[in-house]
Symmetry: C2
Subunit: 518 residues, 2 copies
């Protein structure tokens, strides 16, 4: 492994886990060549003619799928922190004595701390997918056998589609399914709304196992996952803990600072002329973002403006917009609360989407760049508007990328962030880990001021005369540094030991995450 | 080109239009190897970031798609006999001076007689797809430059998926679409219900052009065709003649003989024990089949039996079943009348399907073999239960295969046919063209008797004691021959000149259609 400097000036390895990599070449600079993943032609002759693909257990399905050492096994994260199935899956793999698995989740959650023992004993070789909380800490300490690979939701689809990651066996937790393998997330006791993160897996994996705790007679509708892509169906008593799969409710922030940020964001979108008839927006699920939706809603009602569509992760606040006629559609990538699930089940205008439709950068366009404004978070932003979303200033890898990188392609990307957290500046000279190139980040909105990217002359012009506290990014930085007691310390890392890499939406390597030295 | 005898004993060419072919090897005998069609990796960089793919005309879109001589251009047939777009498309190709096009429709209709001049002047080299009416006659007379290829709906999907047919440009008539290319058939003045026959085209064609007469703001929902697969969008004043796209109503037969057949079919399904709680069936759109649905409905109501699903082509008769609670779902492949379109638009349990879900034999199963019974037609059936659906006893190619071959995989396939037409026997010693191997055809129901395939001992046993006129197939044949004045004449054909071939669902060659000598 050799370290090379990419177009963002970041040191990245030329190889990861033995495979050659392409360094980031700049935004929209890398052009893929070649063909999508090779998919074997199947035949109905090899599948039960009565459509019944049910086998007796997950273990049985894994054996029938030809499970062996070194395979890539994928899971999705729609069960969120209530996921029990993934832990059971690895218990089963351990029981089967399988080693060196590449685990390819669409994300991981604290509940997957259970898997640390399998990272330690060699059942799992490494993780490609977000490593939130405990798994991230484990990785940061250099304890994972292989190098982690962090991708956005769109990047995950792209990597599978392009054959960069070949999934041997996909295990798809399905709140409802039929014996043919059609499956969805809108009904059943483990309902999570939709299961679009498993789409790529169902389309491209060699073997696809649908696991359900609600087996219904054919046809299971809607078929968010199509049985025509499925090999085996397994019925289990329970996929997980419903109370942790979706929240009962999602809570708006009560922090005065965060509320101020949310109010600024709504005001900015209004004054910049983005909030107009037929507009669209996407907001994350954090407390600040939820508050922003409420402030924006008041402005929409006051001006009589209706959105054409809003993007989820959906919550009851987006559902209210839909039900009050303030948007024609919710285009949803995942549901965060029970109201989101209910709405998706009942309302045809609450539509399930997938990383293919929304985010895949190696398609004939995607939805992300059509959206008028995306309001996102970050762990750090630097004076060149570059942002970090995976690690903290202490160097620890603690979050996944999610759809964040993909959303940067919106027509106006706003980072709504506190200027500091726990007396550590969020606005810095240089981000610890580069996840989003500054040229795609248009506005930084903090509780103590707003910085517009100098590249966006149109926005600067539009906001001329606004009463909002518009400043330069360096002004903001200086203020924050002064409050926090000067220039923050750099994290202590060993720059010879790459523990994970951050991929860009086109599959190139944007940055490295280094081992934290304690 | 060499003629070889395939496993059905039929003479078939080893090459068609210069490409090597695989002869039919028997039902479920051929196992495909290799990989699906190679699809180039695309990049969002090459598509408009605002998602607006609208270009000014179809001509413009064709030029931007790199149109040139010898390309394969596909269309779908959901506009049925009201399709004007396909004729306009070829007028445009003629204007551009393009030659030797392989036209790859999912089916053709009498309205496409307009294209005969382009078959004559070399704009079109040959047709792969059904050649109904005038185009069939033209082909039968040996006037088409290349050899026609007839495939089932499932076979068409399979051929595209497997890379057997590479579509250069797909032109997708879309009753509603948005500028990104999301499209559907349920709304708009040219509404035809669904456009699933274009699914393979959208997924696999090199360039995909969506043409609409109802352009709506993004997002067009439901997105039966996904904009992520689309290159260009064209707005036109009109796609065709709505009154011919779907019938105002579909008419049940008034013929006493056909009504008798329909009644026999319903009685057979009931007495054989197929009509039970949670069963499923598929029936075509002919007058006899519609009558059968009405008779079966009465029996279902009388016995308090509900179907789990019924397959369309949908008509108001199926819609009534759904709306009266006699079936949970309609799984629909195409809508035949206005009630079908309305129901699909309004009722989430009236579900659009595609040849991928329903019929593709080279998938991990499909719906066709899950269905309890399929009631189909035929132009001829022979004493070995082999059936013909494309040509008449005079040798003329006059019909497409449609989903007929695929439906033969149902658990009980019934051909509901008159024993003769215009004093020409429908039951014969050997079919003119083999479209369906007898081992997949379980029951022949005519106005003068019912023949059960001897392979289906279970059905023979179940029907013991029935008052239905159950006979052997040879008994039926003898009766029909006697009525029609003896053994029918063979068609006059030149067996050295293959004008078209019939493919089986697995892509192998099942039979040849020969030039008719007049």
């Amino acid at each position: 492994m050799k370290m090379i400097k990419n177009a963002a000036g970041r040191l990245v390895p030329d190889k990861i886990n033995g495979e050659k990599q392409i360094p980031f070449a700049g935004v929209n600079k890398y052009r893929p060549s070649g063909y999508k993943a090779k998919l074997p032609v199947r035949s109905c002759v090899d599948y039960p003619m009565d459509g019944n693909k049910v086998v007796k257990s997950l273990k049985d399905a894994l054996i029938k799928s030809g499970i062996k050492d070194g395979m890539t096994i994928s899971t999705h994260h729609h069960l969120r922190n209530g996921d029990v199935l993934t832990n059971t899956l690895f218990d089963t793999l351990k029981e089967l004595g399988v080693k060196n698995i590449r685990w390819f989740p669409s994300a991981s959650f604290p509940c997957h701390q259970h898997l640390i023992k399998y990272l330690e004993d060699g059942t799992i070789h490494h993780i490609e997918g977000s490593m939130n909380g405990p798994l991230g800490k484990f990785t940061s300490m250099g304890k994972m056998k292989g190098v982690g690979v962090l991708r956005s939701h769109g990047g995950r689809y792209q990597s599978v589609q392009d054959g960069e990651v070949h999934i041997d066996i996909a295990v798809i937790a399905s709140p409802t399914a039929d014996p043919f393998g059609n499956a969805n997330g809108v009904t059943g006791k483990s309902a999570c709304g939709l299961i679009g993160f498993a789409l790529a897996d169902s389309e491209y994996a060699d073997k696809v196992i649908v696991v359900t705790d609600n087996l219904v007679p054919f046809p299971c509708l809607p078929w968010q996952i199509q049985g025509n892509n499925v090999d085996f169906v397994v019925e289990v008593a329970s996929l997980g803990d419903p109370s942790k799969i979706v929240s009962g409710t999602t809570e708006v922030t009560k922090s005065p600072d965060r509320l101020l940020i949310a109010e600024y964001v709504a005001q900015f979108i209004d004054e910049a002329g983005i909030m107009k008839e037929g507009f669209s927006f996407q907001a994350g699920s954090g407390g600040t973002n939820l508050a922003f939706v409420l402030y924006l809603k008041e402005r929409m009602k006051a001006k009589g403006v209706k959105a054409r569509f809003v993007r989820g992760g959906s919550t009851k606040y987006l559902v209210e917009l839909l039900e009050e006629g303030l948007t024609d559609y919710i285009l949803d990538g995942q549901t965060f609360d029970l109201e989101g699930v209910r709405s998706m089940r009942e309302n045809p205008n609450h539509v399930n989407t997938s990383p293919f439709t929304s985010y895949n950068f190696h398609g004939k366009g995607n939805f992300a760049s059509i959206i008028d404004t995306a309001v996102l978070g970050a762990t750090e932003v630097d004076i060149n508007f570059n942002a970090n979303v995976v690690s903290h200033s202490d160097g620890y890898l603690l979050h996944g990328i999610g759809g964040w990188q993909n959303c940067l392609y919106s027509k106006c990307t706003i980072l709504a962030i506190p200027s500091f957290r726990d007396r550590i500046p969020v606005i810095v000279d240089e981000v610890t880990t580069l996840c989003g190139p500054g040229e795609l980040i248009d506005v930084i909105i903090t509780e103590r001021g707003i910085a517009i990217n100098p590249l966006r002359k149109d926005l600067i012009k539009a906001m001329k005369g606004s009463l909002l506290p518009i400043k330069t990014i360096t002004q903001l930085r200086d203020e924050v540094f002064a409050i926090c007691g000067g220039v923050p310390m750099k994290p202590k890392t060993d720059r010879k030991q790459v523990v994970a890499v951050v991929k860009w939406v086109d599959g190139t390597i944007l940055d490295s995450v280094f081992k934290v030295v304690t």
